[in-house]
Point group: C2
Chain length 439, copies 2
Amino acid sequence: MTRDEALALDAADPLATLREQFALPAGVIYLDGNSLGVLPKTAAARVQQVVQDEWGTGLIRSWNAAGWMDLPQRIGDKIARLVGAGAGELVVADSTSVNLFKVLSAALTISATDAPQRKVILSERSNFPTDLYIAQALCRERGFELVLAEPDELPALLTERTAVLMLTHVNYRSGRLHDMAALNGAAHAAGALTVWDLAHSAGAVPLDLLGTGTGSGDWRRSKAADFAIGCGYKYLNGGPGAPAFVWAHPRHVDRFWQPLAGWIGHAAPFDFTPGYRPAAGIARYLCGTPAVLSLAALECGVDTVLAAEPLGGMTALRAKSLALTRLFADRVRATCPELALASPADDALRGSQLSLTSAEGQPELGYPVMQALIARGVIGDFRAGDPAHPKGAQDILRFGFTPLYVRHVDAFDAAEQLRAVLHSGEWRRPEFKQRQAVT
Amino acid sequence: MTRDEALALDAADPLATLREQFALPAGVIYLDGNSLGVLPKTAAARVQQVVQDEWGTGLIRSWNAAGWMDLPQRIGDKIARLVGAGAGELVVADSTSVNLFKVLSAALTISATDAPQRKVILSERSNFPTDLYIAQALCRERGFELVLAEPDELPALLTERTAVLMLTHVNYRSGRLHDMAALNGAAHAAGALTVWDLAHSAGAVPLDLLGTGTGSGDWRRSKAADFAIGCGYKYLNGGPGAPAFVWAHPRHVDRFWQPLAGWIGHAAPFDFTPGYRPAAGIARYLCGTPAVLSLAALECGVDTVLAAEPLGGMTALRAKSLALTRLFADRVRATCPELALASPADDALRGSQLSLTSAEGQPELGYPVMQALIARGVIGDFRAGDPAHPKGAQDILRFGFTPLYVRHVDAFDAAEQLRAVLHSGEWRRPEFKQRQAVT
């Protein structure tokens, strides 16, 4: 692959025009959309409209006149189209962590009712920490046990003691992609429920939460997911700290209260009755007053992904994403012997990111190399290794490839800059070792 | 009181210049700041800066470079000055409902540990519904009982079975203000903890959460509060659905996890370790990624209240607020025999709002009168009666008086418009009876 060949791929890319939706800063190759997506051009004007017209002029009247009250469902219906869920099945609210608490609580309540002998939440050792922390908190309260394993060990650990299999679909460190349908099937066959964190999947890989065509109405044989949550500010481009989303399979959604029984999840919030009565369906997963400013920005971000629908949608985005990560991996392999792939080489096992680590036992090379690369205008990020983890002890360099705005030539150029950072030795300069609060 | 006398009060008002901080729409008298505060002039530019510069250009780098990570504490420290709490004791995060869940969970955990025989959460029958709903959810999970009473009955109901006294300091319907220090003292003497919702208090009435000078280090004799939460979008002018705040007394804050154990409340979130370890102090009440856009707007709102500090601060704002509600009540009493006060006439028992109801047994007069008043440019709101509640069966008209931007002449003119709506009979027109989704 030459740079001209990368340019030729961009010239022939049917998704190339989608990049025009974004306000990309000049002189930057942005490979961190898996941490914070790029600003959609529509968002600045839309947020300003909400602030000045809807809040400033409309004031309290905008709850009705500007449709503020409908935002959680309206944006939820849009996200549902990206994750294989039905209209009315998904809402936007709160943070990923809070939503995980809601669905994991609900799953544990269902399990405790239907199969009280099941006392284990099974998850991945290198799952994103907030997921593990929320699970630990619920285990303490409910008398469950959190069992952590490597991805390949999971199917064998699904037993008659497993209440819930809780996974992040695409691992935040390695970018490894779980086979959701297969794991749903295996969990259900073992009598367990599944809870999926789609933080690194929604807008990045095709999803089929309802398991369309994969199963029957018999839950034990179904490959549908049971619960899912996800993040608004990564591949959905919703802005820093954007609200998250939450989905429950229709078979579960009306069975129990979720414990964050706030008034916006009430059947009739504006009746102001003292007794809680949950709304029918997914609306009961709402809690407090919708965060209007943040929701408005998120809707602009979700719309940038939906803009791909006439061009092939998530299938086309996925094909481009794999081409980008493959191109980058090939170039790094060819030019950076100091680095090894920390993501699966197999397309079927890889999300939309590529992680690299030291090939030569220099576990702390990650941080200064990334700082030096950012100084050259290539923005990825860094994640510290976990010294206690046999397969994750080393620091990693993390590169997210958002096919909406990353070009083939960007992947090529980023690898070139990475090579230059390593070969020049500039990453060893003292200023690149200074750690910052958020890494 | 004549209109000229009201104008003279405004001309002599030392707080009058504070109104210039706000982008008030023309032709509107806004008496609904207890539901959604007015847009501060600084907020539009600040939010635009966050969107275009910090998100658009800075992208992921802004977590450090723009101080995004510090927003929950930085704004928390500002709110602490308004509620009688210390620096570092209060953070901004999530919604009021979610924060109530955190502090009520913590209070129940402390109570269950120290005094397991205590099984009652005591609250007010007409407390804001979301507070009652969250309490009901926790009662179901933890085996507690929610007991509801009228305000005057509360002290006698504090017994050896009471775990927590949970109140909204200023009632959302009646505007009645509880004596926080006295109730903290009574609760502690009975061995119970207190949880205060400051939704209608923060920025509206002076607060002294730490009970400065009212008690000793002996908790049983202390008049300090134990936990408090509050709303960002009412008297703090933070914008629709602004994040809420949460405070725990230093004596309690480090004793237990709160169950929403998200990564931002971890002692070292960017170490990405799999085991949860709560941050020291109030930071453990953070959960997910901070909602940056909404936080930026909230900070502008909080700053509008802090701008009163050199002019006498909350004490001066309180004096003006009482003058406004008194003026409005006097005018209504003099000119609207159809209406009766549904708020305490006694200044010491009234927050910063005034509620009115039918004096003549027309329980459903509230809604169309308010719609007709809004059509005349006077914006208050309406709250439905609770037919099952002996003292709250009738609908009410609700008027919030934010002394930062409401003038004496506004209170005078609003009463005049209300009189005109009633005397003309225009409120009986069919178009004013049409109920909307959010009332």
